[in-house]
């Protein structure tokens, strides 16, 4: 079937106009079998079912939409592409006036949201003067699994995938970046100010280039008076100061910043550039590889995924098994610690550790105020409890009421099943 939806403005107008004589017919036509909300009653009066009108909004509140689109919504949201995104404009920059070099972190081989923000920032720098646009060069170490460089705003792509750049090889990488500096001499170098990626590489690069970088950058504004035409606002003194200065050649941008919006309206060429010949670098840092870390031994404050146990746990063996299977760090409520089921260093809460996990699964924890204080900074809280009235359920983003042992067991089964499927898929690929 054709993707193109033909709109009939007249019918939509009639559908919006409840007083139009053809209103009901048109509604029926557009609504396509939806339960009618109005019908003539046996005595000829028009009966209305207010419950049949409208739709349930995303926040759970019933909404009545008089715009007429609702009726059409069943078919397709008119004109949109499948994902609701408008078509992007294709941009080619053939002869750039200057280059903006970006070294994304590419954690896991893909552009993170931080990387995308950074590319957005690079685009701002590159596109500031429409008469003489610059080009954004992304410098990628290793083989990228990312396929969306063009959509993220990359004009040129340099892929450096020599084996000696793999792993933790900051010295070789800096040598490579220095070679790019020499061959391409970009006007700007942009890196994400992340702990073990761009933050480190960028500082090394700045030290090598003799530049005083803008670290902790979170805002740029055009400023004709400065050397590169921009000034920057950076966080200093452990986040307690804002430093306003001219934008230097090397900038390290903060992750959570409003520094720039990711590119969303254009699609770029992402044309591969041949990497320059890399100099032989003498390495004094040897990467001996990752060390297996037992999730259970990860410090609670550092843990990203915590499976916490409380008073409601009966099957401790099952709980520990679940933590191992999920790869979660174990946490505990005060009572579980006091009762001797868990060691003291696993206690979460005001009197234990304040945790910052991305996901905190509280099993059999009712949620004393001291405990809830300790999980304030967790992103997502999942509660498993038998008591639907407890405070933890109120805090939780997802709560499952029921027997914790059975739920944990089912979860372990589900995760193992997913792993097998995943493994199967990878084997096939």
């Amino acid at each position: 079937m054709s993707e193109i939806v033909r709109r009939d403005p007249r019918k939509e107008w009639i559908a919006r106009n409840r007083l139009h004589p053809e209103h009901l017919d048109v509604l029926a036509e557009l609504g396509e079998g939806a339960a009618p909300s109005e019908w003539p009653g046996p005595n000829g009066r028009i009966r209305r079912d207010p419950h049949a009108v409208g739709f349930t909004g995303p926040n759970g509140i019933k909404r009545i939409d008089r715009s007429g689109v609702q009726q059409g919504a069943g078919r397709s949201s008119a004109g949109d592409r499948g994902d609701g995104q408008p078509a992007r404009q294709r941009v080619e920059i053939e002869s750039p006036a200057f280059l903006v070099a970006v070294v994304p972190d590419l954690a896991g081989g893909r552009l993170s949201s931080h990387d995308r923000d950074l590319l957005g920032l690079a685009r701002r720098l590159a596109d500031a003067d429409p008469q003489a646009p610059g080009a954004v060069v992304a410098i990628v170490f290793g083989e990228a699994r990312e396929s969306g460089f063009a959509e993220a705003g990359v004009d040129r792509l340099v892929t450096l995938d020599e084996p000696r750049l793999a792993g933790y090889a900051p010295e070789a990488r800096i040598a490579a970046l220095s070679a790019i500096e020499e061959s391409l001499s970009p006007r700007h170098w942009l890196l994400p100010d992340s702990a073990l990626g761009g933050g480190e590489l960028g500082r090394r690069l700045a030290a090598r280039l003799g530049e005083r970088p803008a670290a902790g950058l979170w805002q740029i504004e055009p400023d004709a008076g400065s050397a590169l035409g921009w000034h920057a606002t950076c966080r200093g003194a452990a986040g307690s100061l804002d430093i306003r200065r001219d934008l230097p050649r090397v900038a390290l941008a903060l992750a959570l910043a409003e520094c720039a919006e990711p590119v969303s309206e254009t699609v770029h060429a992402a044309r591969p550039l041949a990497p320059p010949a890399l100099p032989e670098a003498f390495s004094r840092v040897e990467d001996l590889g990752a060390v297996a870390v037992d999730p259970a031994s990860v410090a609670l404050g550092e843990a990203e995924f915590i499976l916490a146990a409380g008073n409601g746990i009966r099957d401790w063996e099952g709980y520990h098994r679940a933590a191992t299977a999920l790869g979660a760090t174990e946490g505990a409520s005060r009572v579980a610690v006091d009762d001797g089921f868990m060691p003291r260093d696993r206690q979460v809460g005001a009197t234990g550790t304040w945790v910052t996990a991305r996901v905190y699964v509280a099993v059999g924890i009712s949620g004393a105020i001291q405990h809830l204080q300790g999980i304030q900074r967790c992103d997502k809280v999942v509660a498993v409890n038998v008591d639907p009235g407890c405070d933890m359920i109120k805090r939780a983003d997802l709560a499952v009421i029921g027997d914790s042992a059975a739920i944990l067991e089912a979860l372990v089964t589900r995760v193992e099943q997913a792993r097998q499927e995943d493994g199967g898929k990878r084997d096939a690929a």
């Binding site: 700045a206 990467d287 991305r358 699964v361 999942v382 939780a396 709560a399 739920i407 997913a418």
Partner: protein
């Protein structure tokens, strides 16, 4: 792994730790800087090491109290390279380290006051020509020419690195917490003042420094074809504010819902 270090005192490793004046995030009172204190702790954890503390900066009552915080970790003295208040301490530090180079230089990742760009260790390493490694979790073993260490990666993961000495290692929050600073040694410890010419930081003088403004929170921008879709997306509250409660679900349904959330958040390892 056996903890092999040089056994004779003459072969003891010379370790210098750069310490700075910290600032408490809530009250702004001076204190020992957290990362620097962790660096000191990492140095104290080494067997057979001669640990020296070095601070370069302006000497005043407030900063002395903070420096004594490091002495309280069990040191008799701290080398204080006295500088003017507006000085760039890098040249003075470089000179001092060139004069009496340690085998291993430890410091925090970035300062809690001033520019706090975290560049100083890199500049020192660059000008001394030493390798530098960040994010120390633990020093595993020290040999005459090498040091083997664990580097902290996100999510509590670790990577083992072997580094040629002399070297610079920076320490952040992933390193073990520093020991308590005790009042007695802090009071007794000496500040060994060493004079070095101080050169003003001219670039910093040109910048505007002001208390950090709260950063604007990014609105969830929705690119959509129609104004209505944009409105709908904006009006839709984020998933928070009263979560989903599964009351009469079977364990399997509950597990499926939890699994979905864990999967979306990407915390499940393959």
């Amino acid at each position: 792994m056996p903890h092999e270090t040089t056994k004779n005192a003459a072969g003891a490793l010379d370790v210098a730790v750069l310490v700075s004046i910290g600032r408490h995030p809530v009250t702004g009172r001076t204190r020992r800087a957290d990362q620097d204190a962790r660096a000191v702790e990492a140095a104290l954890a080494l067997d057979h090491a001669r640990v020296q503390l070095i601070h370069a900066g302006h000497h005043e009552t407030d900063s002395e109290a903070a420096l004594r915080g490091y002495l309280g970790m069990g040191f008799e003295a701290l080398t204080l390279i006295e500088q003017a208040g507006d000085a760039d301490v890098l040249p003075a530090l470089t000179d001092a380290l060139r004069e009496a180079p340690p085998r291993l230089l430890l410091c925090g990742t970035r300062a809690e006051t001033g520019e706090g760009s975290g560049l100083l260790p890199y500049l020192l390493a660059e000008s001394l020509g030493w390798p530098i490694v960040t994010g120390l979790a633990e020093i595993e073993r020290v040999e005459p020419e090498h040091v083997t260490l664990l580097q902290a990666l996100p999510r509590g993961q670790r990577r083992r690195l072997r580094l040629r000495l002399p070297a610079v290692i920076t320490v952040d929050e992933a390193a073990p917490a520093p020991r308590q600073s005790a009042f007695g040694p802090a009071r007794r410890g000496a500040l060994a003042v060493s004079e070095q010419a101080s050169r003003p930081d001219t670039a910093l003088a040109d910048w505007t420094l002001e208390p950090a403004r709260p950063r604007p929170k990014r609105l969830k921008v929705v690119k959509a074809a129609s104004a209505r879709d944009r409105f709908k997306a904006a009006a839709a509250k984020a998933e928070g504010g009263g979560g989903q409660v599964l009351t009469d679900a079977t364990p399997e349904q509950g597990a499926e819902a939890i699994f979905k959330l864990l999967h979306e958040e990407g915390v499940l390892r393959r």
